[in-house]
Point group: C2
Chain length 383, copies 2
């Protein structure tokens, strides 16, 4: 398999874009990525689109073709990929594989989503499974996880709130972020209760947005003078947990990150920054531990000693993460990659992580008790 | 890139399966393919699912994870792919690439669809584009193509009906076929008019069903004693036509088939049988010509001299095709591959093409005037 480089990225600000169609958002991201790479639409040889909810919310299929048509990317293989919250990062991985395999030299991956409608947010998007009908919606499941974690490791609700406080602070530095107001521990705890201990400010928002990345072979990257950011690992995994009752032990994260570290030939100690799937505050704590950055039950320490703050040992979600930057479902995985690339190139302005050389992105999709539909991990290295 | 072999296939009968869920249909196809390959669920290293309409019709996402869960295929990368009628064949192509690239040795591709609901067929599946609102539904578009073809080449409605007559005859030999009654030219012409000259019997039906294929590396195929059917080419293309006004010239077919022939190192004269996307009678005629089996305007000759009948020079849609076997949208591309594999292994019973050594499958998705969202072509060779 060949080395693959990310030579161009772009995204829209995340937020509420009621006046724009999926293709309107997608084309902004694609044009930005093309400009960034110094490429024309005709240079793209294969296109991949990650989207999770358009068929259910907008009644639109073939989203990739619709987006690429607007950009003038045409007469190439195009694929639409759905993998819950990992839709965008799964599209990125297929783009990586198509270049790594030698099939094509230049591929684009776009993630695009609209979760807001005229009527409100994405509430009724289809026939729920039995567990959803019984009330096990996502905040309820993550509340179970949080309560289990609190019981096991004796952390406080104030500790849990530190994740939101950090990511909202990071988001305040990011012009692409949906929420740019910092919040305090008290505000997080006192915001409306969704599912105890998950309050409204412990949840990521609904978001609309698009993000794109262009991946090329080493030769092409050299020719473009952009051999800067290499894909050191691009991993997709799914499946059940060994012990579903152990709610705060996401062994899918452990398996996927071990695979990613092995492929990249590094360990968590080599990561300079990580964008992880902080859909709820508790998620980021569990990620610290299951991705190898803290021992089990000791994640809160990374918040208390500011290790995961910008300026700390390994900043997590310096973009603001899902909690602040936003969570446009099928776009999220690529939005994380866009941030990682900007950081590795030293272009992240106020939120720049000094001397960033290795970045990890982590996305998690379709979580329920005992299993998870997808986890993706990408490791990007500055050369 | 490594050689890839199809070592196991399976499918459900196509038709109306109101009492079964997507996962119920999918698991039957997967278990059949596993049994056929002599493999266990735990042997599968990567899974790909093609589905076009579940989010819109059933409100179900993550279909691949749901299907594979039922089969006990777990803790592997799983990807859901939507590419209109090419969803299944696009999933097959990603499975091929994952093995060809060397990333994994054993992959499964499943295509699954349910188009029937308690209330009827798939009529209201979302917000239509402007052209659909103005009446350009699929039978209307293909009626334009048929009328243009009739005007250009002077064929009769009787000539056009020959496609349905042939494929219904083939379908009568196939126990997996939705329609097993042969029809006559008169019956095709006199069936209710949908969009002149497209009558009801000139259209493929709605169908439910699932089909699966297992792809492995050469070494693995040898180990299994099943190094029989090789993937000589797996092509995905999309895009606009050079002259959209020239309705009967599908140059996307020309581009995709040239790419397929080049990659396989053969020409149309080497194909022993073809399963092509006969969504309407006119489609198969245009496929004959754009895939290189007849000169422009001369396709009818292949029907009149029975070249494309079983026993003829190059039988087309010996399974019954979409017109008789059925068209479960996201399943269709893999159902075609299942038929091709059975034929190449000499296991097609009453509809066996004698001494079949090279088979082509062709699927076309998201057709509208001037462009097409996807065309896939696979060439399979008996070794």
């Amino acid at each position: 398999m060949r080395d693959v480089y990310v030579v161009g990225v772009g995204m829209t600000p995340l937020g509420r874009h009621l006046d724009k169609r999926l293709r309107d958002l997608g084309k902004v991201a694609c044009f930005s990525a093309l400009k960034d790479a110094g490429l024309e639409p005709k240079d793209i040889q294969a296109g991949f689109c990650g989207n999770a909810l358009a068929p259910a919310i907008q009644g639109e299929t073939g989203v990739g073709q619709n987006v690429f048509w607007e950009v003038g990317i045409n007469k190439i293989p195009i694929l639409n990929i759905e993998n819950a919250c990992c839709s965008g990062s799964s599209a990125f991985r297929e783009a990586w594989l198509t270049v790594a395999s030698g099939l094509y030299d230049v591929a684009i991956a776009v993630g695009v989503e609209k979760t807001y409608t005229e009527k409100g947010g994405m509430l009724d998007i289809g026939k729920p499974d039995l567990d959803l009908m019984l009330g096990l919606v996502l905040p309820a499941y993550f509340a179970f996880v949080a309560n289990r974690y609190i019981q096991e490791f004796g952390i406080s609700k104030e500790d849990l709130a530190l994740v939101a406080v950090k990511n909202r602070f990071h988001g305040s530095l990011n012009p692409y972020s949906q929420f740019r107001q910092p919040v305090t521990v008290e505000e997080v705890i006192q915001s409306p209760m969704i599912s105890d201990p998950i309050t409204r400010l412990s949840c990521c928002p609904l978001s609309d947005g698009a993000a794109a990345a262009i991946l090329v072979s080493k030769e092409k990257a050299e020719k473009l003078g952009k051999k800067t950011v290499k894909v050191a690992a691009s991993i997709l995994q799914s499946g059940s947990y060994d012990n579903p009752m152990n709610l705060s032990n996401w062994d899918l994260n452990i398996r996927a990150s071990e695979e990613a570290y092995n492929r990249a030939g590094i360990g968590p100690e080599d990561i300079d920054l990580a964008e992880v799937h902080d859909c709820f505050t508790i998620s980021e704590l569990v990620h610290y531990e299951s991705l190898g950055f803290a021992k089990k039950g000791e994640g809160v320490r990374l918040l208390k000693d500011k290790s995961t703050y910008i300026g700390g040992k390994v900043p997590f979600n310096v973009s603001g993460g899902l909690l602040a930057k936003g969570h446009p479902v099928g776009c999220t995985g690529i939005a994380q990659i866009v941030e990682a690339v900007w950081q590795l190139r030293g272009e992240a302005n106020k939120r720049q992580v000094e001397n960033a050389r290795v970045a990890m992105t982590h996305t998690m999709g379709g979580v329920k008790e005992g299993d998870c539909k997808a986890v993706t991990i990408n490791i990007l290295k500055r050369e």
